[in-house]
Symmetry: none
Subunit: 113 residues, 2 copies
């Protein structure tokens, strides 16, 4: 199976923590932690990864990458990536669309007044 289990175990041992101590700090059952460390878990939830990242003091993204989740781009990428307009629910807009929406937005805002 997946083989990042030993990695998590190493992180825990580096802090000299016991499975049950980690359970207390994170709320994740020691049973599950054990399975995680012995390669019996494929994709732990991002929330649990985050908790472990905090406790073990490693970057959340590092753990996400370890378990095979897509990792968010770094800032440079985002900054360069096509239109900043590609945010929110509107998504990427062509110039014409943006102008038309701008017009409609004015209408919306003046509607009731």
């Amino acid at each position: 199976m997946s083989d990042y289990g030993s990695y998590f175990k190493a992180l825990r041992e580096a802090k000299s923590l016991t499975l049950r101590e980690v359970e207390k700090q994170t709320g994740i059952s020691n049973a599950y932690l054990s399975q995680l460390e012995t390669g019996k878990v494929k994709q732990p939830s991002p929330l649990n990864l985050h908790k472990l990242a905090q406790l073990y003091e490693v970057p959340y993204e590092t753990l996400m990458e370890k378990v095979g989740y897509p990792v968010p781009q770094n800032m440079e990428h985002l900054a360069t990536r096509e239109p900043v307009a590609a945010h929110g629910r509107l998504g990427a807009l062509s110039d014409e669309e943006e102008l038309e929406l701008l017009d409609y937005l004015k209408f919306i805002r003046n509607r009731r007044r």
Copy 2:
């Protein structure tokens, strides 16, 4: 239950895509997509979120935040509303305005067809 379903639905409709078209582009079953959009799914996998983010042209982090996953620290400000405000000429939008514009955008794009 969680209620980000309508958000995904809005994203899909903004692109005038059908559930089965999204299925073809992402490999995610239309059955699951439907459940996702009708609030019957709690935590879709990061991988699926990533696929949808690509198709819908929204940041992966935004979707992660929507479904309640922790978002990497250095990305938080980008994942929230701010970018929408950075929407060139449109400026900052309220939720209601954004939804209404989304709806209008859909209309614009379907006008001819």
